[in-house]
Symmetry: C2
Subunit: 338 residues, 2 copies
């Protein structure tokens, strides 16, 4: 279907819609639940608690170093489920496409989604396609909603984090790679070190971590708003504080250079394949070495701890000992990063 | 928040995002599951089979006679679940908003969603907001995904329709009202009879119908592609055919006039509050009178039947006895109708 383009009729619900569904989506996403093509898909949760999440993806450009909007959409949804402790099982995919978009590009995106969903063990079981006229959206937007099931051994994760002073804070890898990869593609930057997006389904990593579930207070994926936003949300209005050691935060050299050039702080950059964990004091080395054996966790580091001082505040300690309070991102540094 | 507008920072994941979530979405959607604001929402399906569906809404204009995009999004998702026989329980809402959109308009949309979700008994438990620059989307797009549970008495509906020649075809009301209401708003038409959208959650109607579940072969909501598309899908590659009596199809006079003016056929028009049912032969009058007692079913009619002639084909018989085959919509008559 090279050079064939999306036409308004592909969103009509009629003949062209059906052709597109068969020629692109069913071709790559085929599974028994989806293939029924009913108004709704049927699932069997086997009496386990479910996790449910949704995200829309509006990233620009659609194809970027290390991934594309399809890979990102599957990863993002899988990661929202697995950091909650759930095993991702089913997902939906809703496409809003600009008239004139290349069907070959759509198929490349569908192939990425199929590959990542197989990698993560999640089935795409429901979908929708809308087409709008040229200029009414920018190329393609994708919404994915996901459902995961929570194994009985992890029921305590459902209650949220029971955090104590002394607990340690771990990040599973370098911060900012996704944001800087997208920025470099958008702005045509030439970096000395090749930076690619970290967009990746992380459920194999969280499964490894959750083999010792009782050591884990909670996990969050570090997306829009960056590490800073999660740190603020973790301690805001709580009886404990957080301190982070700036020189322990893993950041690639190229990412750091671009941050200096643009005035970005890596703690505010969005990631699509990085997790922040709070772990029980004393178990941090055990959890860290577990994470480091996984290919997506080799740059993991213990970066700070929960404190009984500065309740409600997250503080960052610089390499020369300066202390500054971390606030949430106000405004937006990089629109359409996911 | 009158005249406040959406800014790029409202999609940042940081401070402004959080303010928007609290000031608009939590204010109107508040429920114990959503209020946790985790990466994923926790659900308890109580060991019942689940139905799962997704749809994106790109309707233009956002506010139209009889509804708005928010009412439409909740109705559409509820209806996809309830025609499958499921009771809608949980849904997500993903917003893609153009920079500069009025926050007062967003709030009006949120209020509609809250009202319709209460009416339908479904909780909005997960959400996402993205903001794109001016010109990168047209005002606002909403994706909703929904989850429903299937009561044990209706397990046979999960298998799809076991249809037999002689079974009757019912529609629950007049066709085309939604499409013509949106068209009239878009084009500034002045109609002799005021036509409003039929967008409405129909689960109270399907619950009434499903009090006698064994009489119902299956149900479909008549959305994009219209009645024609559903009829074709019902009999395509099957050993039975369908015949429909044109003069029995309920259509408002104004809708009919606009159709004549624009060259539309009402069987291709999208509806957002109408269902097609196939019912067991002999039970059609009982089902029809049940539907007619409901406020959303007062114009219901038996419009045709399953035949053992013309296998695989849907045929429409005109008021003067002419027969023509129904095909799916090819191309698109009315873009952005939902």
């Amino acid at each position: 279907m090279n050079q064939e383009i999306i036409r308004i009729g592909h969103g009509s619900g009629g003949r062209l819609s059906r052709e597109l569904i068969h020629q692109v989506f069913l071709k790559h996403f085929s599974n028994p639940v989806l293939n029924q093509l009913g108004d709704a898909a049927w699932l069997d949760p086997q009496n386990l608690p479910l996790a449910f999440t949704t995200d829309s993806y509006v990233i620009d450009p659609v194809f970027f170093p290390g991934g594309d909007i399809g890979q990102l959409a599957v990863s993002g949804t899988v990661n929202d489920l697995c950091v909650a402790g759930a095993q991702p099982v089913w997902m939906s995919a809703g496409f809003i496409i600009e008239e004139g978009f290349l069907i070959s590009d759509l198929e490349e995106i569908a192939i990425s989604m199929a590959r990542e969903s197989v990698r993560a063990g999640i089935s795409i079981v429901a979908g929708d396609t809308k087409v709008v006229k040229r200029g009414q959206c920018d190329k393609i937007f994708i919404n994915t909603s996901g459902i995961g099931i929570l194994p009985k051994s992890r029921l305590h994760l459902k209650e949220g984090g029971d955090v104590h002073p002394g607990d340690k804070i771990i990040v599973t890898g370098t911060l900012g790679n996704h944001s800087i990869a997208v920025l470099s593609a958008r702005e045509g930057l030439h970096l000395e070190e090749n930076i690619t997006s970290d967009a990746m389904p992380l459920n194999s990593l969280t499964e490894k971590i959750l083999e010792i579930p009782d050591e884990i207070r909670f996990m969050r994926d570090i997306t829009r708003g960056g590490l800073a936003t999660i740190l603020v949300e973790t301690c805001e209005n709580k009886s404990f504080g957080i301190q982070i050691h700036e020189n322990k935060i893993p950041v690639n050299r190229s990412v750091r250079s671009v941050c200096e050039l643009y005035g970005f702080d890596p703690v505010y950059l969005a990631n699509e394949g990085k997790i922040m964990l709070v772990v029980r004091q004393g178990s941090e080395e055990q959890v860290l070495s577990r994470i480091k054996t996984h290919e997506y966790g080799k740059d993991a580091a213990i970066i700070g701890e929960i404190t009984d001082t500065n309740p409600g505040k997250a503080v960052i300690i610089s390499s020369i000992g300066g202390r500054r309070m971390i606030d949430m991102l106000s405004g937006e540094m990089l629109p359409r990063i996911c």
